[in-house]
Symmetry: D2
């Protein structure tokens, strides 16, 4: 039994962490941090957990809380706005506890790239190098030993997992990769903004962050590791009138064989199987398989299918996950399970 603290527990990702961890047989929640709801019962904010998690939210606005928390918690989840986690860390904290950061602070190895895309100065660049990018399907061994896990972004997890095996196997040309992603509204967070009101979102679909979305460099960095080179992609997110779910539709030109033929569907399937055949949380739908976000809702699964287009020489890769589970809280718990030697799917 380990003790866990959750900073930012009343946002959508934080609340999902509370929900999952409150049913995890090896975890005791010892801290429910919140700015807006400090002093209130957590279950008065999230009525679904009434009778399940009735603890009182504690103020996590003043960073001073972290010292005490680091002493009593074996692991701290930070489900906070960009920049907050970096301000909380120092050597003492990291000698006491382990950190799973759901924000972007430690995802990007090049601090200059982080600072450019996020528009803020990094408060703890000295820990960037050691932080492990928490995509177990790719970095499982490193996650197990990490002090700091940078939990990947929601769009990023879906985008990377869908393309990774084909990039790695050299079956697609990364310079042609175009990712068109669609997300439910929970991805926009629980802040009170007019743009996210029901009547503004319902019955509409729109692109946003066109050519400038912050998840772009994160995707490029990880796919760059896969192919051993620089990757520059087009990434366009869209807002869809639903609560949860991300669908990534990804287009790339197939790399032709020496004889000029396109790789077969069998070849593509084999590459996916090799990468994910044993993965507990990836379901391969194969050639012509089409993922739908409803089938992954409330689960930690990523469903992946593909279709080759002989007319254009391109492949369409499609991935779906729940942005709050595999795209945030579920993946964080998966990382925690690996870090503490629990069964990877425990509680999920």
């Amino acid at each position: 039994m380990i003790k866990a603290g959750i900073v930012g527990a009343t946002g959508y990702a934080g609340a999902e962490l509370v929900r999952i961890l409150s049913g995890h047989e090896q975890v005791q929640i010892v801290f429910l941090g919140s700015r807006g709801y400090a002093g209130q019962k957590f279950s008065d904010v999230y009525g679904n957990l009434r009778g399940v998690e009735d603890g009182i939210c504690e103020d996590d606005g003043d960073p001073a809380f972290i010292k005490d928390l680091s002493k009593k918690a074996d692991v701290i989840f930070t489900a906070t706005p960009q920049g907050v986690c970096a301000t909380l860390l120092d050597d003492e904290v990291l000698s006491n506890t382990r950190i799973i950061d759901l924000s972007a602070d430690f995802r990007i190895k090049d601090v200059a790239v982080y600072e450019k895309w996020y528009g803020i100065k990094h408060a703890a660049p000295q820990y960037v190098e050691e932080a492990v990018y928490g995509l177990c399907e790719i970095n499982r061994a490193d996650v197990a030993n990490a002090r700091i896990v940078a939990n990947p972004g929601c769009y990023t997890t879906c985008s990377i997992l869908t393309a990774y095996p084909l990039v790695k196997a050299g079956l697609i040309d990364p310079s042609t990769l175009i990712i068109d992603a669609k997300s439910g509204t929970s991805g926009a967070g629980r802040g009170a903004r007019v743009a996210n009101l029901f009547c503004e979102v319902n019955e509409s679909v729109k692109p946003y962050g066109v050519t400038t979305h912050r998840h772009t460099p994160e995707i490029e960095e990880q796919l760059g590791y896969a192919c051993g080179g620089d990757v520059v992609i087009s990434f366009t997110p869209h807002l869809v009138p639903m609560d949860r779910g991300i669908l990534a539709t990804e287009y790339a030109s197939l790399v032709r064989e020496a004889d000029g033929s396109l790789p077969t569907a069998e070849r593509i399937s084999a590459a996916y199987e090799e990468a994910y055949g044993d993965e507990r949380f990836i379901r391969l739908l194969g050639d012509g398989g089409v993922p739908e976000t409803r089938w992954v809702r409330d689960t930690n699964y990523t469903d992946i299918g593909f279709k080759i287009d002989l007319r254009t020489g391109r492949i369409v890769m499609m991935g779906a996950l729940d942005n709050i589970v595999k795209g945030a809280a579920g993946q964080a718990v998966q990382n925690m399970n690996v870090m503490f030697g629990f069964e990877e799917s425990m509680g999920l």
Copy 2:
């Protein structure tokens, strides 16, 4: 005052035609065709028109009706499944009346291509040549004189209008064009199918018809006219949990200037302005402008914006329209207005 007949009046597109035409000052509806609801009051099927259009639906299942109808109607709209319209036409009918076909029967000039993508034999190939593709923004003069107008598909209208000016001006490379489209559920029609039940569609997004959707050759043909060559594209439609609206996000590589530089946003805007500057139903949002389907809902507008991505050398073009209005019934009425010399926006 002209007389109009509507075949297939109780489908979603047909019902929208009834709604628009019942408020059109120059049109009298003389025929409300339906298979499933023959003998019932139209307003018992579509309660919104109670007190507005309380006529009785007539059976349009047996093609014999067309002879009489062609004598009393100045124009006949066919909002019918693929293949039906072609079986209704002969020289006598066409000498009596004019046809606006909302199905695909007369959209594609190459009958073999039609038969391959739709999987049916064309029943009236002799009229394909004379049929005019009813996109007023491109073919206005021909529409005015047509006996048969092939009203474009919903995805097609949005996809073509968004890319057309840049293809025509040679600013993008058509062979790199990728169209990722998102549609509301009314596009799937009013047939009783499990896949379109509320609980199957709600809270989910999914691709469908990947690499095989029937609107693909229609888009390719029209864009081919624009650039004077063959165009082969990637087109992927998606189903979104909303009633109405299509958003097309289109990606293409910009054609570099002689000096290797990318075309500027001003250059792109100028091409759009040249093509659509005087158009009543196209609203140009310009550089960085992002269309949202809610702003075109229940209107005949197409909103178009774009964004240049210097990192990838691509442009992202974005278009939005209401699939039942500009994508079907509204465009049909726009065509009718042009055909009969009414103000093009009358009733819209």
Copy 3:
């Protein structure tokens, strides 16, 4: 052609007023008031009106604007929070122009009741007496001559119109009246509040304001006029995950005839016909007729049906309208049309 000013033009009701009036052949909009968007183009806030109403929003936060506006506008609509309209009025303003107030300030004749339910002091009680309750179906003659029209609330319009004929005819016992109402989310307004975020509203239904909703005394007052006595009712509003629409399901015990029998459906229908038979904007669905909010969406109609329950001796009355049209902006324009002698349905 008259000139109209709209205070609070960027809220949901105000924006619908702009939309309707921009298509009204006898109205020119001369003022688009807004606090949050002053200085911006109206169509940058509401993209649907791009190319239709591109005027600049003017600051209506400082009441000083009203003097000038009253001189140039023939009618001023106030789509403002409770209490604002009352602070704008004085004899000079009222000698210059006519007011249609979409807030509650002048709906309730008993100022003490207003102050108790709304929790604010009335700033202009001297004008309460002359204000006319703007329900044309009941007060048409008075509306025509009013300087101040108190435009009814959305729940109120639906609740009153549904029960009024039976209360007036003495066919139901008002003391047994229970109104269970369901509303779309636009009724909550466009303020940035967590409770109205998409993810908070979607996939849920909840009651609110149970026994305390502010529309209760307004309903009671008007039904009291109908029966010539005090009426006290149960009223419970509910929030439904949709943009627009109100459905009121109303229960009351039928008053038995002298012989102990219940009134027949014919008797009930006759009472509705007598009250509304000539009304342009009320559609009677009759015995067993069931209104649905989708059929009144974007219209100024109220649909009303009923069903007698012989087992319980009660009648279930059901009414539906669009809360932003007949429940707010549409009704305001209907009132304006009556006040200025235009055809009552003009622009609607």
Copy 4:
């Protein structure tokens, strides 16, 4: 470990049973019955269970299957249309296995009442008497020993649980009870009907079955047991554009104390506490507490609150549950747990 068969496994309630039971540590699923999908993998119909329950659906259209199934299954769930379960039972089947029927066949003790409201002849009236109404909160002891459990309806469970304690305690007058209920669309089932298409349901709310809904006599019978007399109520269901959830808003006149005063909120709360204080799946929100369906989604909870209205002398009782879980599959598993001596919340 027991063996369970599910008849009608591919409807919404059946599929939820599969989902819950596939995660139940004491249950092995041995039969997945379906008419429409016989021969297909269950997870090809419900993609969420891909990798979890990949068994093949077997044809349950011909009743002959029941003999074999009764020999190998310790319990059979029938999630079938009205009338089907009754045709499957005989003494041999009932000597082999135990039945949990999710349809209405054994819910109503008076066969004539059943036949009148459902319009079908009961095929096995001889088993009606012994069948136990499966509301554990009220009939737990009888459920434990039953051969046939009649799993309550979704509206019924919510309606009864919300009012039961106050009816039993004599605090409200049952003859004044009015139940206005709102349901998500999954309650309408997975049949391919136009009325349940996304575009017909979305953005609308409507009443249906007004004064005639089949759950009415079931509610009346159970509340009649509570007060020891006949109960006749008004019950109106409504369709709401969401997948899941039922909210029942219930109105009744409070029974005044001997001194003419109304019962206090404390008195009401005490009655609820006495009835449900120890219940695992009922959460009492108390005086002024307002349930929302989102907080019970995907859970077996029923949330109940109330508000006294001193002005009218009435109480408003409000209950919410998930119609597919506590209103169907979850409650069925709760009954199974009680019948087989498992912890009542196991798997839920």
